[in-house]
Structures are given as C-alpha cells and as structure tokens.
Symmetry: C2
C-alpha cells in the first residue's frame, strides 16, 4: 500500500511553524537533509518518508511547546525514539516535524522496594538494565533492537521473555503523555492496580504516537532470578516442537523463554556463526527460578519433549555458555539476511491462539516452499507469535509483490484462526489495510477515539486508523 499524501493546506504551514520552532529550540531544530533522511527511515523495507524538520526535545514541557506550535499551524508531529520500528511507524507520510526524544534519556527514579522505575522516553532498554544492575532487579522486555522505552510503550513491544513476564501492556504502570493540544497528562499513579476510571495507560500503550507523545514511562521491574538455565533441542517436526510448547504451558511450567527456529533459520545461523546445530525445527528454552526449581522445570520439559519426537537436549547453565546459545537466537535476523547477499529483510509477524499455531506455521511454510522468495521463521511460540523475514531485493518489484502476496496470505490465515495481524511489530502504515479484516466494526471505535483526542489529525497521521 501507499500512505495517503499530505493535504496541500499543511505544506503552506511548514515555513512559519519552523520559524517558531527555531526560536524555541535554536540549533536543536534541524532541517539538514541527512538528519531528515535519517529520521524518516526505520529498519524495515518500507519506503522512507523524511520529515520537514527534526526537533531534539529535552523535557516534557518542551515537547508540549513543540506540539502547541505544530497544532497552531496544523503540522503533523511524529515521535521518534531509536528508529527501530518495523512497519513505517516513524515515516513522515504527510510531512511535519519529527520529535526526537533521544536526548530525554534520564532515569528519573528507581524504586527498588516497589520494583518499579520511571524513565524519560529516550532511555533504551539496555541503558535501563545497565543502570539498575546493582539493585538485583531487571527489566525483561527485549525486542530485537535496543529500542527506547518510550518507543516500546508506543508500539506495545514484547520479545522473548513475554511468555513469562508479559509485554509492554502488562509492564507499563504509568505514562506521561503530551496530547495533540499540548496538554500534559499522567495516565495513572504508581499503585500496582487501580479501579479508578478508564485505563488511559493501556489506551496509549500501542497507540504509536497517533494519540499523543509519550515522554515518560513508569515500568515494573523483576527480581533477577537466583538460577537460570538454557537448553536447545531439535525436533523431527514443527508439530512436535509446538506440541511441546503447548504441553509445557498447560503443565504450568513458568518457562521464561521458549523460542522456535525453523530449519531454514537454523541453517542460516549455522552458516552465519559457524555453528553446527542439527538442521531441523529447534526450540531454545530458558528457565528462571531457584536452583531446585530450575532443575525441576527442566526435567518436566525434557520429558514432554521426548514424547514429542525431540532429539538430545543441549544444556547451558554457565553464563558464558548461555550467552553463546542465545547469541545464535539473537543473530537470527542478520543470519537470515546473509543467506541472500545484498538483500533487504521484510520482517513481519502474526500471533494466533496456540492451539492453531502448528497449523498456521505448517500452512505458511507450504506457501514459502512454493515461492521464489526465500524466508526464515522464528517464533515466540509460547505466545502463539511467529515472525517471518522475507529476503528481497527492494529494486525488484516482482520480489516485493511476491512478499506482499505471501504476507497477505499469512495475515489473513492468522486472522481466520482468531489471531491478529501483528503480535508485536505494530501497525504503522504497513499493516493498516488488515485492521478492517481483524477488527470489523471495532475499527470504527478506534476511529472515534482518534478523532476525539486528535480532531485535527496532527499526531503521526496516516498510521493505524484512517480518518
């Protein structure tokens, strides 16, 4: 699809708005082509859309001042964290001002007793974990990139630990948000639960900048477990691997990570990192708990896996062995790209009820087997969520069209199984066209919410809902 173009009206507003913004920000407003290009380009295959200018904000109040200027001139506002989104979320498809929150990178307050932390939106997940290392706590959510926590909240990110610790939906306690008219709100207090009114926190988590700009995030933290162990195990079939996952979760094993790599992906990882894993559907496990608890979890899962056609378990309990094991998983994306030198990766994901996961994966792989576009599969299978990366040459329309066809078939298959068009990558403009099929009449409610909170349509327009 192609995003809708900027209304002509807005183009005339650019110059006067930039004048006011320059007066406010001085050289923290940039219109340099390289800066604009950088801020219109995410890590996806999507066409970049550079903004008219980039504003480097340093405080919530400054973000509010920027938004007020843009609102007065009807100019779009696009929030930017680390630029690592995957569905075109940061593209200035109607022009406007990109607000880069990277300089808002202070850890505001750590509350070890409450196991929570408040950070500015530009703090990244790795920065946070380095900052709190000595508290015995950690923040578990780990999308592939070292994304900003504001961006992770905005896209409802998750990652490999979500099966145990939840996604950003479950781990954000409160947000500070600048609204389309410059009002500043805090969406909730720091209490662990509340029944006091509408859940504004969850409304803004996943709203991708279309309802407001997230400037501060209060997050739950977790205790670093006493013991961690990891394992890798190959299976004769994808079904055997997925059934092991289903039975593990039904048995109440609090598995921390349970990741699937298909045989294409394992082959890619082997070649990329000079490893020698068996080329077969493979599960990567991680267990968190007490010393005894971790052993018990591992024994339970190993027994289930044997019943489902598993090969030998390769265990890693020492930190350096675990790191090596998980490096293979983390390298998956770049390993896949290396299968086709010079290609770009079109990353996509869907999520289905876990009872349909094996079927969804098997049917999707049938499509891939019959296609000339190669693709590798990895999955956060404990959540019913899996990813494909199509390896395409973006200069060859035939490859793009074929990837689009494969993607549409996979998404509609997932929706038909009562699943979703994206488990964790978000909508941006890349998946807007699927929301009607997924949500039906509920999409009209999303549109009502968008119009209510952003009547002039300046907040990251052209994403999630069409108005």
């Amino acid at each position: 699809m192609t995003p809708s173009a900027a209304p002509a009206l807005r183009r005339n507003a650019v110059e006067p708005a930039l004048g006011e913004l320059h007066a406010l920000l001085g050289d923290r407003l940039s219109t340099a082509q390289a800066v604009r290009d950088h801020h219109g380009t995410d890590v996806s295959y999507h066409t970049p859309y550079p903004p008219d200018a980039v504003a480097f904000a340093q405080s919530t109040e400054e973000v509010a001042a920027i938004v007020k200027i843009c609102a007065r001139h009807g100019l779009p506002v696009i929030p930017y964290g680390t630029g690592t989104s995957l569905e075109g979320q940061i593209g200035a498809v109607q022009g406007g001002v990109c607000i880069d929150l990277g300089q808002m990178n202070r850890v505001v307050r750590v509350n070890p007793e409450d196991m929570d932390v408040t950070v500015e939106a530009g703090v990244t997940r790795k920065q946070l974990n380095a900052h709190i290392r000595d508290t015995g706590l950690f923040f578990p959510i780990d999308p592939g990139a070292d994304a900003s926590l504001g961006g992770m909240a905005a896209t409802r990110a998750s990652g490999t630990n979500a099966v145990r610790y939840g996604t950003m939906r479950e781990n954000v306690l409160s947000l500070t948000v600048v609204l389309a008219d410059g009002r500043i709100i805090r969406t909730a207090r720091r209490a662990r639960k509340s029944a006091a009114g509408y859940d504004l926190t969850r409304l803004f988590v996943g709203s991708e900048g279309t309802l407001g700009v997230i400037t501060e995030v209060t997050l739950r933290l977790q205790g670093i477990p006493e013991a961690i162990s990891s394992a890798v195990c190959a299976f004769a079939t994808i079904e055997g691997a997925v059934n092991t996952v289903i039975q593990t979760i039904q048995a109440g094993v609090p598995v921390a990570r349970i990741e699937l790599l298909d045989e294409v992906q394992i082959d890619a990882v082997n070649k990329y990192a000079k490893l020698d894993y068996q080329v077969a559907p493979t599960l990567f496990f991680e267990f968190h708990g007490t010393e005894r608890g971790v052993v018990e979890q591992a024994e339970t899962v190993e027994a289930l896996a044997q019943d489902n056609g598993a090969g030998e378990f390769h265990w890693a309990t020492k930190p350096e062995d675990r790191s090596k094991l998980w490096q293979a998983r983390h390298d998956a994306y770049f390993a896949a790209l290396a299968l086709k030198p010079g290609c770009k990766g079109w990353a996509t994901d869907v999520c289905v009820p876990i009872s349909r996961l094996a079927e969804c994966i098997v049917e999707t792989k049938k499509d891939l087997a019959a296609s000339f576009v190669p693709a590798a599969l990895v999955g956060h299978v404990g959540d019913g969520n899996f990813h494909l990366v199509y390896l395409i040459d973006p200069n060859k329309p035939a490859e793009i069209n074929e990837a689009a066809r494969l993607n549409e078939r996979m998404v509609l298959r997932a929706i038909a199984m009562d699943g979703t068009c994206t488990g964790e990558h978000g909508v941006g403009w890349g998946k807007m066209e699927f929301l009607q099929a997924e949500h039906g009449e509920a999409l009209s409610v999303m549109r009502q919410l968008k119009i209510a909170l952003d009547p002039d349509g300046i907040m990251n327009p052209g994403k999630i809902v069409r108005v």
Copy 2:
C-alpha cells in the same frame, strides 16, 4: 456526595420507550416495584436508586435492540450482573432501564489447549469454575462476592489471587460490547498478545457500563497447581507483616495469596467463627506450585517472617484444613458486621505503592483509634491494596459523616503517596469526587472518551465522569 438528578427531558421519554421495550421483550420487561427496588440496590451503604424498568436480556442482539430503543428516547441504560458492586455502580441515579444480564449465563466455549474460555456476561465466577472443573484449569480472580464475569470485567475486579495471577485487566482477552448506538463490537481476537491498534479491551475493562454494555467475555484460565499449601502467622507489628510481604515479593517468591487482617478483624473472626487466632496483625499465605516448589516457597517466606517479628506458622496442606483457614478470611466482612449488631458496612479500599503501605495503614489506623466509628481492616497486601469496613448505622447522620470524613482522609492520604482512590471496588458515584485529585488533567481525557463514545450520555450516567 449526591448524584446529579435526571434531566427533565428524559422523564417524558419513559412511557413511550417502555411501550417499545414491552413489545420487544414481553414479560421479560418488568416495572414491578419489588423488581425495580432489587435492581437499584447494591451491597453497599449507598442510597438505592431503582430504575424505571428492568429488562431481562437473553442475547447480545437483544441487548443491542434494547439499547437502540433507549437511545432513540434518550433514556439511560444501566447494566446489571449480580448487584454486588460497592460504590453505587448499579444505581439508576437518573432513572432509565436496567438491563439484567443474569439470563445470559451460558459458557459459550472452553478452549483447554489455549487455556481460555468465552462466557456470556451473566456467568458467575463460581459457575465458571464448576463448569471447567474437569479440564484441570481454573479461573483465579475472586472478589468477595460470586459476581458475574461481565460485572467483574466492567469494574476491573480482582481479589486475593491478584498478586500471582493479576486482575481482570490482565485476564480478559476479549469482550463483546454493545455501544451507546446499538453497534456490536468485539474488542480483540483470541491471540495472547497483539500490537494491532488501540487496546479497546482495556478501555472497556473498568468502564462500569459508562461506555457500553459488556455481553460476552473471553478469559484466560490457569492450570490447577500440582500442590497448594496455606499458612497463618501473627506479627508483633503491622510493619513487620508488611515488610515480610515486600521482601517476599522482592525475593521472587510467586506467592499466590498474601492477605493481612488487623487485630480488630482477627478479633471479629475469632468471635464470629469461634476460632482462637492470636489477636494481632496476621498474614494469611497460600503457595501454588509443584510439591517441591511449594515447600521451597514456604521455607523462604517463613525465614523472612522470622526476621520481621513473626510468631509461629500454622500450616495447612490438606484441602479441608486449607478451606477452614481461608473460610476465616472470607468471613471477614460478616465477622466485622457482627461486631456491631444491626450495623451496615461501608466498605472502601485504596491501593498504594507497597513501599508506602505500612505507613498508609499505620496512619489510617491512628485515625480509626481516635474515632467513634469502629472499622476493621483486611488487605491484599501483595498488591499494596487494603480495605476498611466502617461499621455504621445508616440512620445516624453523625456516623455517616464520620465515616465519610475518615474515608476522605484515607483516600487523600493514598493519593498523596502516589496511590489510587480504589484498588478494586471501582468508582460508581461513591468515589467520583476523588478522581480530580487522583487524575488531574487526565480526567479531562476520560471525559473526552465518554463524550466520543456516548454523546447523548445514556450509558450508566452519573458514574465515573461528569459530563
């Protein structure tokens, strides 16, 4: 406070609307005084407000038809589950039609592999657990009453298990909702996670019928643990008990329940059930896990408790002993009422960051010690949430005023500690006046959402937000 009165306009709409509803529902529309009185009265101390009529709906489509008739006539719609709310949520403060969902009590579909279930809104939590008993699964959320699951979603209920399993916020996967104009939406698919647009599920969870009528609920289920053990332990001080809770959670012990009863409440329970617990601040624990895991959890917690001035642990592992132990906790409300024969209970709750919990409880108990209105305290302390029940004679304004004064002090204290005016009872009209102090500018956003989705103000008007 007193709720705002019905606009005169609406009174004229009653007769014609009831005529149409009668044609639709026949004798499932009742205007009998006893039926109306019953449906305007919850289990709280709040003044009852009977509706003009009660409609007993049997399907989502029928609810939609009822709402459309009411919308055409501008008549309020108040959803009703079991009538067990605590802040006046079901009172027809501006008149209108109560939709009783009690006949919508079918379990629509159990998906054991996905560990989820879809029920009609009128199914109660105990009915659900009886229905799924043979699947090895259970639904953990347990407010005091055997409430309907639609009502529990609408009020964002929780209970004693929330510290382990979360509240309705975390356990609702999807809702079917009838909107103010009769549109029917499903808020999400059945996938465990999704990044596909605004989180409508969480918007309606906790909205107390003010944005729409919930008619179906899809819920997460949990595996029945292999082993369960319970314990009771008295402490020298409230601080010792609360510090034990904080340290338990920081240590990563996945405690399933951790409940505090103060010495007043223990004394009441002793008298009510002829028990002989030591009259002191007391924690009730429950551990879920494997046989070995439960022992390990218990050992960890017992060691922490000893360091915090605990007395002897009384263990219960056999089901009948556990039931007896928890019966004492479940009897708390009626035991408290029995302290003052003929009184009514004014139940209230707040929730604070757990680091402030001891201080909040101690200061609140100082207020109580200096007051002539008796009150007993119980708490879901793992969440930072505690309840008071003021024992009042509702015919004595001095007692009501005193309870209101104590309640206001406690609520404002909790808010000043970055807590919330209600952890799980909800707002209704009983706590509306505190939302400005809690949410500030964010309350204006809630108002915008209310106006966007219910422009004519017919959905349970006079609750949560003033328009």
